[in-house]
């Protein structure tokens, strides 16, 4: 495969380096937000591509790997966050949307979804 025409949204790259993971004073609230992001069609909609062992996950797709053993596979949480913020960094042709870079999710929502999936 030769060169592809890739449309880039160049704005917001800085955010990746400046955003520090929020230390939520109420962890349960953050987890609940993360779950809403994971399941919500108009939010992260992660469930459309990643199965997860949460009984509330309905009609999960399998375009991406299942969300499991996150802690073991991503001992460095920052790497996990970076994958969600912009999956095209690791794989320019990935089907996974750049959820942070394209402003699909707020920084707070990304932190929350990281915390939520880190439990699985």
């Amino acid at each position: 495969m030769r060169k592809l025409t890739t449309s880039f949204c160049t704005v917001g790259l800085l955010a990746m380096f400046t955003a520090s993971p929020v230390v939520a004073d109420n962890h349960a609230e953050q987890i609940a937000l993360g779950k809403a992001v994971y399941m919500g069609k108009s939010r992260g909609n992660c469930v459309s591509c990643h199965t997860i062992a949460d009984p509330d996950a309905k009609l999960a797709g399998n375009q991406g790997p299942p969300t499991l053993s996150m802690k073991a596979r991503f001992p460095d949480k920052a790497k996990l966050r970076a994958q969600i913020w912009d999956a095209t960094k690791n794989n320019p042709l990935t089907i996974m949307p750049p959820l942070g870079k394209h402003w699909i999710l707020s920084e707070e929502e990304i932190d929350a979804v990281v915390e939520y999936i880190y439990q699985f």
Binding site: S7, N45, C49, A60, G61, N62, Q63, H102
Partner: protein
């Protein structure tokens, strides 16, 4: 155990798609080679779905997903588009106010010609689609054009497709006009370019993502995409044109669709139809 298997499968798919994303000639006028692209696409799907015969790709997702195929075969026993074909025939044969009709606008009276569309029109320097010429036939005869997406235009197109069943697509890119190749290239680039908020290309879902679930949806293979149009979709509860479907897929990837029959969409249809060369016309079709 099941989960581990799926994981392995997905990783395999992800790495396979890295190696061979099908398009394999270039993306500029010097290196683009439509025939090489067509063969690469067939080889890609042969490798992905070794059980499926190339000829079966006219059946879209049902060519590769055994699960939904059975339901679809039952549906096809009482085809939901039958009424539309009849209605289309009636419309086709109803004369315009000036006494002329659709048959006067097309080669062979409009019968058995669907598989020749879209084609490169040298005089006009553009790709012409069947729906476009249906409307031109109307305006040339002082009739109002029809709306593009559904209704009468889809029914007339469905009837014309019906009279062309089993004819083999043989879309030409005339060598004596560089603009034809440029139109193909434009369509090809559009197909592989990432767009919209979700950063998705057509190829992401219809090459890489073929037959892998996005929530409850299974994207079909791009090979054979156009052969059965217009299509009766259960979700629409009606017949719709190819460009209507293009709009729908734009919305799925959160990008703003172009207008039906714009030059770029016609070029996309030209590219996609060339990819289906060698397959038969089997419209109208029925899909979930």
């Amino acid at each position: 155990m099941k989960i581990i298997k799926t994981l392995a499968l997905n990783l395999a798919v992800a790495s396979a798609s890295q190696a061979a994303l099908a398009a394999d000639s270039g993306f500029d006028m010097q290196t683009v080679d439509p025939e090489a692209d067509r063969i690469a696409l067939q080889n890609y799907f042969k490798a992905r779905f070794p059980e499926t015969e190339i000829a079966d790709y006219v059946n879209g997702i049902y060519a590769v997903d055994a699960g939904s195929r059975e339901q679809w075969e039952e549906l096809e026993e009482f085809p939901p588009y039958e009424f539309d074909v009849e209605k289309g025939e009636e419309l086709f044969n109803t004369p315009f106010a000036n006494g002329k009709g659709y048959a006067d606008c097309f080669e062979n009276g409009g019968i058995g010609i669907r598989h020749k569309y879209p084609y490169w029109n040298k005089d006009e320097g553009t790709v012409k689609t069947l729906e476009q010429e249906i409307n031109e036939c109307r305006t040339d005869n002082d009739e109002e054009p029809l709306a593009w997406g559904k209704g009468a235009i889809a029914q007339i197109s469905a009837y014309m497709a019906w009279t062309s069943r089993d004819k083999v697509f043989d879309i030409q890119i005339p060598a004596d006009d560089e603009r034809a190749k440029a139109a193909y290239l434009d369509g090809k680039k559009f197909f592989y370019a990432k767009r919209g908020q979700l950063n998705l290309s057509c190829a992401n879902c219809h090459v890489q993502g073929t037959n892998i679930r996005i929530r409850a949806d299974l994207p079909s293979p791009q090979l054979g995409h156009v052969t059965h149009f217009p299509v009766f979709r259960s979700k629409w509860g009606a017949l719709g044109t190819l460009h209507r479907r293009y709009s729908g897929c734009h919305k799925d990837s959160r990008s703003k669709p172009l207008k039906p029959q714009t030059e770029t969409f016609r070029n996309l249809e030209y590219f996609q139809s060339y990819m289906s060369n060698g397959l038969v016309a089997n419209g109208p079709g029925a899909r979930k």
